[in-house]
């Protein structure tokens, strides 16, 4: 792998982590959705660059799927849901943004340490790529944990999946079946989420999980 290729993928993967941080920083839903779109765009670019450097044409497809579905369709759909439900207010965060960012830093550090440690024998690129991917996954998880709002949790989950795709794309020659299945499952996942949000809206006035949680099978 040429230095240029390496640096570019490095840059893109790092950019994805940066956008993840930006998502954690956002405390308004609309802005969050926009940032997520950016996240998907960066992912798409990263995957496309991988397709180019590995000369794996099938990855372009993955990049395209990421661009179309995650950068355009999903944010749009979510935006509609948000508008329909009238959730324009700020996203309730459990802990302050600063603290969350700090935790995010820690997670990134952890993932780098773990990955570099573990993949000492693998190629430099695979190491970095996996480290960044793991960071994105963990940041996505962090977002799910620190947000009270269902939409932003879904977004967090999506960004988590983006990290997975980044990892999969970075793995040299990983068979197409995986990409397709990933895309496929995200599609299904999204549909199901849509159905669920739809149903939940039927029954509840809000998508806030907090309201949902008060209905516990066992509470009297």
């Amino acid at each position: 792998m040429t230095p240029i290729a390496f640096d570019t993928s490095h840059l893109l993967a790092g950019g994805l982590v940066l956008v993840s941080f930006a998502m954690i920083y956002q405390n308004r839903l609309q802005a969050l959705l926009r940032t997520f779109a950016l996240h998907a765009v960066v992912l798409s670019a990263a995957v496309a660059w991988q397709a180019f450097t590995q000369s794996a044409e099938q990855l372009y497809l993955t990049a395209a799927i990421a661009l179309v579905f995650k950068a355009i369709i999903i944010p749009a759909a979510l935006r509609r849901i948000v508008q329909r439900l009238g959730i324009h207010r700020e996203v309730e965060q459990v802990v302050g943004t600063g603290l969350t960012m700090l935790a995010g830093m820690g997670l990134v550090a952890l993932s780098i340490v773990v990955m570099l440690d573990v993949t000492a024998k693998a190629g430099a690129f695979a190491r970095e790529d996996l480290a960044f991917a793991l960071s994105v996954v963990l940041l996505g998880l962090l977002m799910m944990v620190t947000r009270r709002n269902a939409v932003s949790q879904v977004v967090g989950f999506m960004s988590l999946e983006n990290g997975l795709i980044l990892a999969a794309a970075g793995a040299r020659g990983m068979p197409l079946v995986v990409e397709i299945s990933v895309a496929f499952s995200i599609l299904i996942a999204f549909i199901v989420i849509g159905i669920f949000l739809f149903r939940i809206r039927e029954r509840f006035d809000t998508v806030d999980l907090h309201a949902l949680d008060s209905f516990r099978g066992e509470r009297r």
Binding site: L110, M144, V145, D213
Partner: protein
């Protein structure tokens, strides 16, 4: 012979299947119990034959642990316990032919009863750990099902709960013990365990675990708490089987594993066993002397007798550890003999209680009385059992208790100070237990059968039917016969004792007049036959002489009662008042009992009250804290059921991050 015994067990299981298939038929009960007598007799006969010198044998069935199969083996030890199970089972089944007719829930008793007997047989036949444990736990399970027969009563359900929980604890201890003995590659066959050599610590630990496992079934304190609840809760013939026979199977487990498989324990293990046994005996019998429920008294008394047996087993271990084989043989013979005797009189007593229950519908002492006139045969048979269990000569209970004392007296040659301190104390405790037993059974018999009837039900009681009386009669005859010629029984024990200690008592049957000479004639002898003859002759002579030389006039009249006869039956001493002196003396120590007097102020019309408050130190200090801790912890972590999804996700994340941290630090 093994095929006879295994066949008997199988036959029992088939009978249970029959009971399920023909459930609901009115004739089932009598038929089933009658049929159950057959395998019992068969296995008693097989056991006797082996004790008489016939060959045992073994077999391997293609069931159980897949790579091992179910090993069965019949040796002298198994044979002895087969005799116990068979004899007890036969007499109790005979009793049940009549008793079963009064059962309110036959559908919950009949299917389990024969299988319970079969499971006990399998326990003593099993020759590998897995088969043993399966039979053991099936035995627990079936007896639990029988205990739950009258499940609509709350106290029955809670008794059943406690019982099965303790049984599970015991089985778990046994499983762990066998895990320890079998090793990592799973040598579960008894022959392999017996052949293996292991460090002393492992031996002692395994013995301790077996003691927990078998002791919880036998009712060794402090694992006895379930016994006085569960044994009485079952239908009476089942109570008889549980108390009289199943506790012996637990004794068998200790003998098989600790004596046979493990070999001699280190000497320091035996004082604990001796003290545990003796302490259990006192605790059990004191509770019996305080209880108000006929069957509960009997259950507590079972705890006492088990304590005596375990104390004797502990003595045997102490002797074995020092290589004093003859003394060990004496102690072991005493334990086995007492086990057999306890089977006889305890089953008989439970049957007596069952007969009373049938006739009056009550088992609380304060609702009974005067039954000796309404139910003369039952009263007489019960009197035999009461005399036997109170260790009075010339019946069998005394013979075995006497042997236990003799083995205690053989002990001063033991070289360890610890043992020397413990054995006299144990002797004192056992003597106390024996004396308390007499007190408890005076109260038991006196309140239930003597005096005036305390309830209408007792006043109208009618003698029970012949099958029940026959079942009781068999065991009463056994108590008397064994009591009169213990020498013959002890000779039958010698193959068992030889197998476990390497030697046996001197042959008793050759002694003149069938005298019992456990060690030497100069040391101690006892001849119940002569004692009985002397008493019979002198009593008859005295009676004859008194009538002959004195007056023979008898006049009936109202009771004298020191000039203050009071017609009300409540003036006679009842269960509570009879217990009072002993409770005052020992109650504050053993039961935390105290008497509270509530005296209203002068002018206040409220009645004064006198109450007895008593607790159970073992329950309060050992069991309740565990229960409380579990419930507290359950309540504490129950909050985790009601978290938000976000928090659950946080849990997942925390797990992931901490594992990654571990990995990075480690790697």
């Amino acid at each position: 012979m093994i095929d006879v015994a295994a066949g008997a067990a199988l036959f029992c299981l088939l009978l249970s299947a029959l009971a399920v298939a023909r459930r609901g038929r009115a004739s089932l009960s009598a038929t089933l119990y009658t049929l159950t007598i057959l395998p019992c007799l068969a296995q008693a006969a097989a056991g006797l034959a082996i004790l008489g010198g016939a060959a045992g044998g073994q077999m391997v069935l293609p069931i159980g642990l897949p790579w091992l199969g179910a090993h069965l083996r019949l040796d002298a030890l198994s044979a002895f316990f087969l005799v116990i199970i068979g004899t007890g089972g036969a007499a109790i089944s005979l009793f049940a032919v009549g008793y079963g007719r009064h059962e309110e829930e036959p559908g919950r008793v009949l299917p389990f009863y024969p299988a319970f007997l079969g499971a006990m047989t399998l326990v003593v036949l099993a020759d590998d750990a897995f088969t043993f444990l399966v039979a053991w736990e099936v035995m627990s399970l079936l007896s639990w099902a029988l205990v739950m027969a009258h499940h609509r009563r709350d106290e029955v359900r809670s008794a059943g709960y406690l019982y099965l929980l303790m049984a599970a604890l015991g089985t778990m201890a046994l499983i762990v013990a066998f895990g320890l003995l079998a090793g990592a590659d799973g040598s579960f066959a008894f022959s392999e365990i017996r052949a293996a050599s292991r460090p002393v610590g492992v031996t002692a630990l395994a013995a301790g675990l077996v003691l927990i496992g078998a002791g919880s079934k036998a009712g060794i304190a402090p694992l006895h708490l379930w016994l006085p609840e569960a044994h009485p809760a079952a239908p009476s013939h089942v109570s008889a089987l549980m108390s009289g026979v199943m506790t012996k199977v637990a004794v068998y487990a200790v003998l098989r594993v600790v004596f046979d498989l493990l070999g001699p324990l280190p000497w320091w293990a035996s004082p604990a066993l001796i003290l545990l046994g003796a302490g259990t005996a006192v605790l059990g019998i004191f509770n019996a002397a305080m209880a108000d429920d006929m069957k509960k008294i009997l259950a507590y008394s079972t705890i006492e007798n088990i304590g005596v047996i375990f104390a004797a087993l502990g003595l045997a271990q102490a002797f074995l550890a020092e290589g004093m084989r003859a003394a060990a043989a004496l102690a072991l013979s005493a334990a086995l003999f007492h086990a057999f005797n306890h089977m006889a009189f305890k089953s008989l007593l439970f049957m007596g209680a069952g007969a009373v229950l049938t006739a009056t519908g009550r088992r609380d002492l304060d609702g009974l009385g005067g039954l000796i006139r309404r139910m003369p045969v039952t009263a007489f048979l019960t009197l035999v059992a009461v005399t036997a269990i109170s260790a009075l000569p010339p019946l069998n209970g005394f013979a075995s208790e006497w042997m236990v004392f003799q083995s205690l007296l053989a002990s001063p040659r033991l070289p360890h100070l610890g043992l020397e301190m413990v054995i006299p104390a144990a002797g004192g405790l056992l003597a106390l237990a024996a004396a308390l037993a007499a007190a408890a059974f005076v109260r038991f018999y006196g309140v239930a059968f003597l005096g005036r009837a305390r309830s209408d039900a007792a006043a109208r009681a009618l003698e029970v039917d012949r099958a029940m009386l026959a079942g009781m009669g068999v065991l009463a005859a056994l108590c008397v016969l064994v009591g009169l010629v213990p020498a013959l029984v002890l000779d039958r024990l010698s193959p068992v004792v030889t197998a476990l200690t390497g030697t046996h008592l001197p042959v008793q049957g050759d002694q003149p007049w069938l005298t019992l000479v456990p060690v030497a004639a100069a040391r101690s002898t006892y001849n119940p036959l002569l004692v009985f003859a002397f008493i019979a002759v002198t009593a008859s002579l005295a009676a004859w002489g008194a009538v002959r030389m004195g007056s023979r006039v008898v006049r009936r009249g109202p009771a004298w009662d020191c000039g203050y006869p009071e017609p009300s039956v409540t003036t006679q001493y009842g269960a509570g008042s009879l217990a009072q002196p002993l409770r005052r003396v020992l109650g504050p120590v053993l039961l935390q009992s105290r008497e509270e007097v509530e005296m209203p102020a002068p002018g206040d019309m409220a009645p004064a009250r006198h109450r007895v408050v008593q607790g159970d130190p073992i329950r309060d200090t050992l069991y309740l804290p565990v229960v409380r801790a579990v419930l507290w912890a359950a309540t504490l972590i129950d909050r985790l059921q009601f978290l938000t999804i976000r928090r659950y996700l946080a849990m997942v994340m925390a797990t992931l991050v901490s594992l990654l941290l571990v990995l990075s630090l480690w790697g």
